[in-house]
Amino acid sequence: MTTRILIKNGRLIDPANSVDRITDVLIEGDRVSHIGPVSACDAHIIHAAGKIISPGLIDLHVHFREPGDEEEETIASGSAAAVAGGFTSVVCMPNTNPSIDEATAVEFVHRMGRQARKTFIYVMGAITKERKGQELAEIGLMSQAGAIGFTDDGSGVQDASIMLKAMKYVSMFGRVICQHCQYNSLAGKGVMNAGYQSTVLGLPGIDPLAEEMMLWRDVQLVRKCNCKYHAQHLSTVGSVKIMREAKQMGLPVSCEVSPHHLLLTEDMCRDYDTNYKVNPPLRTKADIEALKQAVKEGLIDALATDHAPHLMSEKELEFLAAPFGIASLECALPLYIKALIEPGVIDWSKMLAMMTCRPAAVIGVDKGRLGLGDRADVTIIDPEAEWTIDANKFISKSRNCPYHGWKVRGRVLNTIVAGEIRYTAAS
């Protein structure tokens, strides 16, 4: 017998189909079977008056640490955290230990994802073997195993000729090549933005140029080979300008921005609190404004958390020694609301597009829509619920969250993946 779920009287926002109206959505099995008023029927009913019905949210950038650092996060714990954050699909980065740089590793992550049975897990493979930036990894075999893109995330591919070869090679399989833009020679041993605050704290800084120069170089390489390219977690005024020009040239480029680069600045590193240590580093107000402007113009394709869990004991080190990263999967939605909707930068439909159909387009998957017959990945959101972020209540194994204690608005109520309710908020 097929299970039925009826979502009643919600505001369906489906940006891919330009839909924004109050309606009912009926799910039968793993598909959407009806949109429009539904009279009484034999189904599990979710009353959604005053709530938003969105296509399931997609996060292009998470670190689930498995294999290798299971004490920080596992695919199971990360998947559970993802559905609690409203994400029905996430993309795992390959900088695990060992790296995801060959087909069996890709299959392993998929298998663990299926076993967890929470969110849908996609995998990106490494561009180069062991992410060392020297030899191409088996990109073709990983593509066949289901890797939906390639990146050496955590570091950028330093050598221009290797990057060019990688772009050409990846394009043979129609996948997207992604880059963590950062020239190591300029970033040096930096642990935060190079600027006033790094001078005061006496910490080595990472100049915005380290990001911008690699992004600029990659754009020139894309001009040469026209492959599909995605810039990960942009953080600077200059990067926005380079991306704007690249899109104006009509190049097949896309980019993402993370919540911390829309909300936090270098000033917050003031007390050497390592929860603010992240790579790319927190920049300045001017950078935040430029990124928001880019969001407003539609230049940013995706909102991506860069969920990077770490143990408390690792973060309780000297700022120089602590690892980079912020865990934010479970509070990402209200953070985006705070950054983009509350100040009126964009509306709900535009924001949800950056969390559904637009990231789906970046990785070329048939998701992020909620039309008749589409796969029933659904996120139900209470846009007005006020709550306080409590990192101690995270399902994720890690607590490295600078938003702990923040009062926020907007909460995920239900997360439905392929017609199954995988998460329900405690009432």
Binding site: T199, L203, Y272, E316, E318, L320
Partner: protein, 326 residues
């Protein structure tokens, strides 16, 4: 000296967070200890029964000895803990090390560490008082204080003086602490060095930036020559030692062009013939050894004040608890 003023900080992490009044209060307190040091029996019972640990994760002789002597003169018991390790993240963590020492009943932790922020991290994690004896290139507050103390001792006041700080400003905690204390006490500060050794946006700390020592030497009442720390500098900050000395070294010739009573300072240890010529370092304008003597008095003042603040805080806590039960 303002006798109604009450010192409230149980940690001394940096001078950036202190007010002019607070800075002057430390210097005034140190003045009392300076006179004390002239006595034949140089011991006060102030910290009797208290335990001070010198946690030095970086080589130091001058600062460590100075702190040890200061603690001894106040009758504290001193534990020396030295662990020089280039990698900060190997083995036991800083917090675990400190918590272990604290479990043995330490009252004041004096810490020197190669990572900026290590004292701040400690102060959040343990109950003992934390005194920063130099962290990375963040701050070296007692050095800044003793430099200000020495200038005040000779010149009477810092108001209206122009102080040049010359050398590797980017990697200098001494420069930063000096900038904070000197500007707050009314001096004008000019930082001098090649652009490769200037940290970004340093002008926002209220200082003038110069890359030409010869252009500014005549304006200076005080010149503080920083040590070129070869061991910390990666390659290519400047082409050669010879070239650095040529442009930024304090030579006899340059001193001749300066004001006749210019005060020559150096935090030590000196690289003779690199940033300063021997004749200048040992010459009549030099107060380099006076700085060292003053260091003890300043550190006595700091240990005395943080301990007093800690005692006051625990008294207040006890008081509050009593009120609670009433």
């Amino acid at each position: 000296m303002d006798t109604t003023f009450q010192w409230r900080h149980k940690h001394l992490i940096g001078l950036a967070e202190l007010s002019r009044q607070e800075l002057e209060f430390i210097l005034d307190t140190a003045k009392g200890f300076e006179e004390f040091s002239a006595r034949s029996v140089k011991k006060a019972p102030t910290l009797r029964g208290k335990v001070v640990v010198n946690m030095f994760f970086e080589d130091s002789t001058r600062t460590r000895n100075s702190f040890t002597l200061a603690a001894n003169r106040l009758s504290a018991d001193v534990i020396e803990f030295t662990k020089t390790s280039s990698s900060v993240n190997k083995g036991e963590t800083l917090i675990d090390t400190a918590r272990n020492l604290e479990a043995m009943g330490v009252d004041i932790v004096v810490i020197r560490h190669s990572a900026g922020g290590a004292p701040k991290l400690l102060s959040r994690s343990i109950n003992a008082c934390v005194v920063n004896a130099g962290d990375g290139y963040h701050e070296h507050p007692t050095q800044g204080l003793l430099d200000a103390y020495t200038i005040r001792q000779v010149k009477g006041s810092l108001d209206g003086l122009t102080v040049g700080i010359v050398g590797d400003i980017a990697h200098s905690r001494v420069a930063r602490s000096n900038i904070y204390v000197l500007t707050k006490l009314g001096a004008k500060v000019i930082v001098v060095g090649p652009p490769t050794l200037m940290p970004g946006k340093i002008d926002q700390l209220g200082v003038r930036v110069s890359h030409n020592l010869d252009e500014v030497i005549e304006e200076l009442d005080v010149i503080n020559m920083l040590r070129i720390q070869f061991e910390r500098l990666g390659g290519n900050m400047f082409p050669s030692v010879r070239e650095y000395s040529h442009f930024f070294g304090l030579t006899v010739e340059r001193v001749k062009r300066a004001k006749p009573n210019i005060l020559v300072m150096h935090p030590g240890p000196i690289n003779r013939g690199v940033e300063i010529e021997s004749e200048v370092a040992d010459g009549p304008n030099s107060v380099i050894l006076q700085q060292v003597s003053n260091g003890v008095a300043v550190r006595m003042a700091v240990l005395f004040l943080v301990n007093q603040a800690a005692a006051l805080q625990s008294e207040n806590k006890a008081g509050k608890n009593e009120n609670h039960t009433n």
